[in-house]
């Protein structure tokens, strides 16, 4: 029954596999981790001397370097020797569970011996995540913001050249609106003319005049005349009703066109705004100065942190319930995985505790932990938490974070307090308003960032004390504006700002206020305000010149048409009033005649009796 050759062959195969694992796994695993890490970070991840033991289920390495993608000659993270153990029983179910992972001497910002830049193949863009959308929106906000370019004010900006690039749209729109209104006014004129008040007026007036009250001698003639006047009154009333209805209808339609007429001003305003945005003239109000000075740097840092959160969300595989809908088409031989959720069982991946220690700077030693990096938090009932802190002679840092996906929502909270940061040699701003690095200074950061699905709220308070700017590397051939700013900065010894970000990922609002806002705004206004205002006026004037003739012509057209309609309606109203007057006169005359005839008849009867 047994195949001896097979058993021997199998044993040899198993031995070969073990030998291969023993000799080759380390190199294979090292290259796999490095490749996957590099893909995730976007810059080289290198591991020195990785060791893996299948028997003792132990993994470790001598050194790990993660390159900073923004500066590929520097490591974002570097560690010394690390080792950790896997639990054996969960491995049999395909679950990787690590109790404690101790990483000593974690450092950041260490120089690299080789460039860590890698050219990764461009991935096809899928549906962007909520955080991706927020990052793009913030970057766009910063791009759209008018960046103060001092060179712009050292040479003349020509409003004509800006207008040459512009496509002024209001004249076309006004023309098309005028055409549409012409048709409408024609139709209203026709509607009013169809009442034919003019013709009816003459006919009815003739009829009324034809009733000669003086020639009436008998009572039956009075009755006939009254009947005629009553009939004419009915005709006039019906004409009046028709006129009133038409007038109401036309007036309602005219008032509706008022909305489209008011659009003309909006179109002109849009053209003006478009010209301003092309000119990129800086708004020298205090609210914008802080954003111009520190906005870009703060947003870049914020976007970095948001992209880490995005990665965390991406790697967190939320276990679907077994109430999953059937996929109609699955890839060949791949099928659909159905998950059977159960509480209090081990998740597929669980790194229970990472103990970290290392130096943030020469004077600040940090330690802390990251707990519960897990594939499904619901299974362990705990969120992922980060607590890192340390205190040096001058500096102190505390960073706490929670990534909570327990109830199916994605919530993250981070708090950072970093006091006593040395600002020596650091540049606080990317703006040309503040081009110099700091020679000395102490920084204090108090920041928090909260995310709840697609809602983001963050506040960063920064305070730089005892600041001295370094002017040793300043260029000598500065223009007037640059000299002016350098002198302004020389008097500054404290800088603080509060940046806020809030809203939904598709509608984020970023604001930044600093103690320099008013100082810079006032001084810049006195220096550049006139120039900016002059340019604004020029552009305004150019836009006005382009559109005014169309606007005047249009306004004249609307007024003329309106006047024509009003006159017609007023004339018809007067004609109807005049007919009513005539009729009233005839009624009075007939009443009088009736009384007269009654009197003479009474006299004749009395004569006959007596």
């Amino acid at each position: 029954m047994w195949r001896k050759k097979g058993i021997i062959g199998l044993l040899i195969f198993v031995l070969l596999v073990f030998a291969a694992i023993y000799f080759l796994t380390d190199a294979w695993l090292e290259s796999e981790i490095e490749d996957n890490g590099t893909q995730a970070v976007g810059a080289k991840v290198e591991i020195d001397n990785l060791r893996f033991s299948l028997l003792s289920l132990q993994l470790g390495w001598d050194r790990l370097q993660v390159t900073d993608p923004a500066n590929t000659m520097t490591n974002m993270v570097e560690t010394d020797s690390c080792e950790f153990n896997f639990d054996f029983v969960p491995l049999l179910s395909g679950k990787v569970i690590v109790e404690d992972f101790i990483i000593k001497n974690v450092r950041n910002g260490t120089p690299r011996e080789t460039d860590g830049r890698v050219e990764l193949p461009v991935e096809e863009d899928g549906e962007p995540s909520e955080i991706d959308k927020a990052i793009t929106a913030l970057e766009k906000d910063m791009e759209d913001a008018a960046i103060l370019n001092l060179e712009q004010f050292t040479r003349k900006v020509n409003a004509d050249s800006i207008l040459a690039l512009l496509e002024i749209k209001s004249p076309q729109k006004i023309d098309s609106l005028q055409k549409s209104l012409t048709q409408k006014y024609d139709s209203w004129n026709e509607k009013i003319s169809n009442i034919k008040v003019d013709e009816d007026y003459k006919r009815i007036e003739k009829k009324i005049t034809a009733i000669k009250i003086d020639e009436i001698k008998r009572a039956d003639q009075v009755i006939t005349a009254v009947n005629m006047v009553t009939q004419i009154k009915k005709d006039v009333d019906s004409l009046r009703n028709l006129f009133n209805e038409t007038q109401k209808e036309v007036r309602a339609e005219i008032s509706q066109t008022g909305n489209s007429i008011s659009l003309v001003d909006d179109w002109i305003q849009q053209d003006y705004q478009s010209a301003m945005s092309k000119a990129k003239l800086p708004d020298l109000s205090a609210e914008n100065i802080g954003q111009m000075l520190f906005g870009k740097k703060v947003v870049n840092n914020l976007n970095n942190y948001l992209s880490y959160v995005d990665k965390a969300r991406e790697y967190y595989s939320y276990v679907e319930s077994d109430e999953v809908d059937k996929e109609e088409k699955t890839p060949r031989l791949e099928g659909q995985d159905i998950y059977f959720y159960k509480q209090n069982v081990d998740p597929d991946f669980w790194l229970k505790n990472i103990e970290l220690s290392g130096a943030a700077t020469e004077m600040l030693f940090l330690n802390g932990n990251v707990k519960n990096i897990v594939s499904d938090q619901r299974l362990i009932g705990q969120p992922t938490s980060i607590n890192i802190g340390g205190k040096g002679i001058r500096e102190s840092l505390q960073f706490d974070g929670i990534l909570n996906y327990l109830d199916g929502n994605k919530k993250e909270e981070f708090v950072l307090k970093y006091n006593g940061i040395s600002l020596d040699g650091i540049s606080l701003s990317d703006s040309k308003l503040m081009p110099n690095n700091l020679q000395k200074g102490l920084g204090f950061i108090d920041a928090n960032l909260n995310l709840n699905n697609d809602e983001i709220f963050g506040e960063i308070k920064f305070d730089a004390k005892d600041v001295i700017f370094d002017f040793s590397n300043s260029e000598t051939n500065l223009n007037e504006a640059e000299k002016f700013l350098q002198n302004l900065i020389k008097g500054v010894d404290n800088i603080n700002f509060t940046a806020k970000i809030e809203g939904k990922t598709n509608n984020l609002k970023f604001s930044l206020k600093s103690n320099l806002d008013k100082l810079f705004a006032d001084n810049l206004k006195s220096m550049l305000g006139d120039e900016v205002q002059k340019l604004k006026n020029q552009i305004n004037e150019k836009v006005n010149n382009e559109v005014t003739k169309y606007k005047t012509q249009f306004d004249g057209f609307v007024d003329a048409q309106k006047q024509q309609l009003d006159e017609k309606l007023a004339k018809y109203g007067l004609q109807l009033d005049s007919l009513n007057g005539l009729l009233e006169g005839k009624f009075d005359g007939l009443e009088k005649k009736k009384k007269e005839l009654e009197g003479s008849l009474k006299d004749k009867v009395l004569e006959k009796i007596f």
Binding site: M1, W2, R3, G6, I7, G9, L10, V89, P90, L92, S93, G94, K95, D322, E323, V324, K326, K329, T330, R332, L333, E334, G335, Q336, D337, I338, Y339, F340, Y341, K342, V345, D346
Partner: protein, 174 residues
């Protein structure tokens, strides 16, 4: 060439001294390998059985290739059947939940619709297929083999120098 060689081997197997039972076992195990996604835990076990237990390997390989060729066509059916077993059959959900978190079985991919559907279908087919193949081998040996040997084309081939050479090489190899 490989296909022809395999067919020749199959015919040889049918004629050989291997018992119909061994041939049927080999065919049925090959069928499971062919119908279900190869990278599954149960297939590793079947491969170990094929190596260790004395069943007919050539039939297993032939059967594996044969069923792999058209397993793709049944993929949507296996997916639907697997979905029915895993999701619609609610009475088994507790059982699945328990085993999906137990060692080894939890890593067996049984929770995949195609793995589950195709494995259950192959297990259902296993017993009838075993008896069918066994019966087929016996029938071939009793009725078809003598007729086959009498075919002119077979005699022409067997009489050719090429066959003579092939036979010699084969006898040296064995």
């Amino acid at each position: 060439m490989f296909g022809l060689e395999l067919l020749a081997k199959l015919i040889k197997v049918l004629r050989s001294g291997d018992t119909p039972e061994k041939i049927a076992w080999g065919f049925c195990f090959g069928m499971i390998l062919g119908l279900t996604p190869l990278l599954s835990l149960h297939n590793l076990i079947i491969i170990l059985i094929l190596i260790v237990v004395n069943v007919n390997l050539a039939t297993a390989i032939f059967s594996f290739i044969l069923f792999s060729a058209f397993a793709y066509l049944f993929d949507p059916l296996f997916h639907s059947f697997g979905y029915f077993l895993l999701v619609d059959l609610t009475s088994l959900r507790d059982f699945y939940t328990t085993i999906s978190h137990s060692p080894i079985i939890g890593a067996s991919r049984f929770n995949n619709t195609v793995v589950m559907g195709s494995l259950v279908v192959s297990i259902i087919l296993f017993v009838p297929m075993y008896f069918l193949v066994k019966r087929g081998v016996l029938s071939y040996r009793e009725k078809l083999e003598p007729k086959f040997q009498k075919l002119k084309i077979v005699q022409v081939i067997k009489g050719s120098k090429f066959y003579e050479l092939y036979d010699k090489v084969n006898s040296w190899r064995s």
